[in-house]
Assembly symmetry: none
Homo-oligomer: 196 residues x 4
């Protein structure tokens, strides 16, 4: 978050709203400028081009997203609890900001390959947080020690991501956060019946 750059943040917030309301391809720079209350040209004092707005939107929002999750996890005592908190915070944050959920789950994915790569890059720190939890769980001997970490991380992220996308596509008609226990159970224990 660039401090003391009110216009920068105005534009970022306006971009999220405009994309959520109009869809990715109907999000003209003029519309963003209008909602941000600045002239079209002013956009280009703060962003290199339209793509730069979109990447910045993702970076800013993702930065805040990760920071909140990292904070919430910090005082948890073990990997299982941390994982639970991560899932819950992931769901809750998107649940509380419908605009952001639409933008990250649907609209920003319509961007082309180059932009997608930049967006994926902004996702790296989040994936690292997941990796750390997996490693901690292995050390604590609550997770198996033969886990393929990158693959497991993909599966955890894929699981949460698909749940959120379905929720967004169903127009957020049900409560997302309450899916946390089931999602957590699936990730830790899978589908299997526990043997006694």
């Amino acid at each position: 978050m660039k401090k003391n750059k009110p216009k920068y943040n105005q534009i970022i917030e306006a971009a999220v709203e405009v994309i959520a309301e109009n869809g990715y391809h109907a999000s003209q720079v003029a519309k963003i400028a209008g909602k941000a209350g600045v002239a079209d040209g002013t956009i280009y004092l703060y962003f290199k081009n339209k793509e730069d707005i979109l990447v910045s939107v993702f970076e800013e929002k993702m930065g805040q997203f990760i920071e909140k999750i990292a904070n919430a996890i910090r005082d948890k005592n073990n990997a299982v609890e941390k994982l639970y908190t991560l899932i819950e915070m992931h769901f809750r944050q998107l649940s509380e900001d419908h605009h952001l959920a639409v933008v990250t789950q649907l609209e920003l994915r319509q961007s082309d390959k180059e932009l997608r790569l930049k967006i994926n890059h902004a996702l790296k720190p989040y994936l690292a947080v997941i990796d750390d939890i997996i490693k901690e769980g292995i050390e604590e001997k609550v997770f198996r020690d033969n886990l393929n970490i990158p693959l497991v991380r993909q599966m955890i992220f894929g699981t949460m991501d698909e749940i959120v996308t379905n929720w967004v596509m169903k127009e957020q008609k049900y409560d997302l956060t309450s899916q946390t226990p089931d999602a957590h159970a699936f990730i830790t224990d899978g589908l299997s019946l526990k043997m006694s």
Copy 2:
């Protein structure tokens, strides 16, 4: 599959190739017509509009995709084996058709919300197959009976989808099919260390 409509299939196949080679946004109708060996106008004798081509591509390919998986599953004896086969076939089919993998995992996702909904609709039969396996596993008492089936199905699909997408984005540098055991283990048993 429309039978006895050779041009229809020519256009579908051309569309997959053009999208895989050029990317979604660089796939003009004229390019598809060119590769299919027909005039631009001819496209509109077989498809309502460009979106109709893309939806049809997905429907045709998804139909074949599901049929093969359904066939392979039919003679498996229990839910665990069926699930294993489903995952393996999912990975293998995309592994063997790189064009299709690029198109389904990356390019078609760049379409707008409306088209995405239609594509999701074509996915329904596949999701039903997954649902059936889950139900069967519950009946066989190898899966827990308190599973939220739609949620679990999303998680299974999300897990596989994310693995495939990562593989495509890493330019298919490693073997996808060999990820099957780990993916299957994650889905059935989660991360937890099994107690003896």
Copy 3:
């Protein structure tokens, strides 16, 4: 001149008129299309981009310009007469097509360096015609044999060009063709008083 391409020629002629009437920088593609009676997009079926229109205008017009001069010169018997005819035809052709004169003398010179180089390239055949006359005059021993041909050609072209440009800038208020004898006299004899 591309034959049997009526739209091609319509666009070329429209471009000359639009540039002459509005000036180089106010010559939008839309204006040219409008005057040519075609849709904006049609322009791009015949020309790669706007620059291509402008280069083509110059090439087409210069081709006709040179051809007429070459024809007129062919049956002249000596270098002095040929030079006289070249000057007269140069002046007359621009005199008879005011639009073309404005475009070549004023408007097209506002183009950037790259376009200027392409335009200069189209001028080469004309400069070769001048060179040939100079060489012929030397062989006929009516011109000095120590002439620096490229330099002399520049001087001849520069002389004519400056006269035409001045005439265009003075809004063609006087007769250009009647400057031929004086221009010819200057080029052949310079300023000096002939000694007896």
Copy 4:
């Protein structure tokens, strides 16, 4: 030259450099301000608008250009020598200031009709100097007395101008000043072989 206006001259010099280095169309006011070491807005304390900068550049430089030629000519005894000196000085001054040569011969000509008229106006005093030499030559009876003075002046200027432009376009690969004798010979004697 506005005396005691250091910023005025800074801006003029910066403009010449920026235009020579970047070309006419890439010479934004901001770039000129940057090179001059002043704020964008400061430009408008000294110049009415961008066109005014360019006209002033030409006027300032042309004033110095003419003054030097006028000084050099003053102590020559006859028209032929004065003409020789004028040509030599014309070539030498542009030869010694490549930036200025590029700006006057190529870049400033890309301006629109209105600006070109103002630039031509600044050229008037120079053309008057040429006129005076022609008149003096006629009086001295070394030039013909039936010369059309404005036309002859255009031809002399056009000759020199075309030579300089060619030299600039050939990227100044050869020596310009040494073209003086040939240019002078062409102007005084034309192409004709002298009769004895």
